[in-house]
Symmetry: C2
Subunit: 357 residues, 2 copies
């Protein structure tokens, strides 16, 4: 085993939201300092040693930031390529650019997943209205149109319930390059949070069941109510993706459970909302796991010692936090955001429902 990055080193984190904040705290637990790069408000900066507040096209700020960091990682995947050029010139960046490139574009991502033999929903590129008939022939109807880039929490999506609606749906995406995806007949969505270390070792957490509300994750429950064989499939499949990408860090893999097996919905090259339960259920949570990976520590083995339900606090839900905190086994995480807005993730709670089944 090679030595990890020395204690006291600085980890640069691109993005200053709640994921960056929880990464910064995990880094501190391993004795590291953190430096946040974030153009806007940065709740993560409250727990970081430094904060560079600058836009992603400020080449000088990017270069100064990179020079101050021993390693750079990120909490979101939509980092512009020219910024990545500057950031990764002299400082290691994990996960690698390849992982970012694959996941920044839904078409690239689906193509990659299909090429390595995994099942995905039928899909086709849609650059313009002319492409619609061919694309819908591929996917079937109903289908869903999604922008290829910059979508999250259900944004940049439009449903096509009948072929006649297709042009209007595409127009609602305002000319952004898109893909059409066929509907999948699934019984539930699960996700696997998996990690790969610099030495190539892989470790996955137990799959959780996700429930969404208005396109935003509402709850994740572990264990997911699926047979052991599917758990194994999910973990193997996630490992396959990490290994194919020569990935270093934590990845979130969303999967549909269908009568004929697992279908990959999407991957996120970062810690993931559906992995927050690990804070209450595992000795090493997803944030520490990610920091371990990018700094060269051995990975935790992912073992789960408690059953947990994670619930997001969206918008005014945050007002329920004190009442929730009074319930047995409830761990509260608030993100320190200055303003409560509808649809905004303000915090989450992890409810320990018992020792691990």
């Amino acid at each position: 085993m090679t030595d990890p990055l020395p204690s006291g080193s600085t980890i640069g984190i691109l993005g200053g939201g709640q994921l960056g904040r929880m990464l910064a705290m995990a880094a501190a637990r391993l004795g590291y300092r953190t430096h946040i790069f974030e153009p806007g408000a940065a709740p993560a900066a409250d727990v970081a040693h430094d904060w560079t507040q600058a836009p992603y096209d400020d080449a000088e700020a990017l270069a100064r930031f990179a020079a101050a960091c021993d390693v750079i990682t990120y909490e979101f995947e939509n980092i512009p390529a020219p910024a990545l050029d500057i950031l990764s010139a002299d400082t290691p960046l994990f996960p690698s650019r390849r992982a970012l490139e694959v996941s920044q574009d839904r078409l690239t991502e689906k193509t990659f997943l299909k090429d390595i033999g995994l099942r995905v929903a039928p899909f086709a590129a849609v650059s313009a209205a002319d492409d619609l008939p061919g694309a819908l022939a591929e996917t079937g109807v109903p289908a869903i149109l999604k922008t290829r880039r910059f979508g999250y929490d259900g944004k940049g999506q439009a449903r096509v319930m009948a072929e006649a609606e297709a042009e209007a749906a595409l127009a609602s995406l305002q000319g952004a390059p898109a893909i059409a995806e066929g509907f999948i007949d699934f019984s539930m969505e699960i996700s696997v949070i998996a990690a790969r270390a610099q030495d190539g070792s892989v470790s996955a957490f137990d799959p959780g069941q996700n429930v969404h509300s208005d396109g935003i994750l509402a709850t994740t429950t572990v264990p997911a109510p699926i047979p052991a064989s599917l758990r194994t499939d999910a973990v193997l499949l996630a490992s396959r993706i990490l290994t194919e990408l020569n990935y270093v860090g934590v990845m979130g893999v969303e999967l549909f459970v269908t009568p004929t097996g697992l279908v990959v919905n999407e991957i996120a090259p970062r810690v993931h909302n559906s992995g927050h339960w690990t804070q209450a259920g595992c000795a090493v949570d997803q944030f520490e796991q990610h920091i371990r990976a990018v700094t060269g520590w051995p990975l935790g083995n992912g073992e789960r010692h408690a059953n947990v339900v994670m619930e997001n606090l969206i918008g005014d839900d945050v007002d329920r936090a004190p009442a929730l905190a009074a319930e047995p086994g409830v761990q509260v995480h608030l993100y320190g955001k200055a303003e409560t807005r509808p649809g905004r993730k303000m915090g989450h709670v992890n409810r320990v429902t018992g020792p691990a089944d």
Copy 2:
């Protein structure tokens, strides 16, 4: 239930060591900012929003610090009284001065514990050599001389194995006011980490077994191998102390297990090294519990969902951290201290040994 201190408020923490650091992270998890007051090096400042680096006799710095905080708490009990006068003039301070006064002085502490009906080792004040014969008559020989104030991790102590050694032992304390304590015939040391909220509710964690090495805590193991009746006694006794002091916050209570029941060794009006296991074994750890108490949140119920062994990393032990991290169920906490020194607490690991018994 009254509302807790609003998210975004600032918690002042006196002391910038590892306890302050872990308190600051717990405060951040509840959406608070922290401001550290620490004259020396401050690992806690790495995860805090602000740091006042000034001595405890800098009245102006203390007043500015207090004015910037919505509530003040501390990680250590030896805060000078004149500083407390300034700090608590206009800002709430938890735990209260009464708790500090009681625990700053071993004589006051033992007298308090005895007066509320708890068992302590026989003790007597020793101001000068003349007091030794009477004091040792009270305590018996062997005995141990301890400075009344500023002792920790076995510092400021001298054993008296025979009466003839007493004057030399006292001289080794360099004229500091002291107490003599009789030896207790105990089978093990345990401790209870208990909390009391502003509304008077009390919650305790499961007692852990402590093992010391060279006067410094080496490991804490939960569950402690004691009968259920003793666990109940320990928790009731801790509750008694908190309630008598009208205490708000987390307290560590060290107890000796003897053939005739529990004897109180000492109390610490703060989060305690022997409570670090709660980070891996409970939904709400001792740090969050303390922050909940001082900010008016409801307390966690203290339930333990895993068996845990906490091991301190003292001095060069920290070099073992990467190897320990590779073992199953091991959670690493490093304190970000710049320099490794013999006897210095550099970090700890929590090893989850299974779901709760």
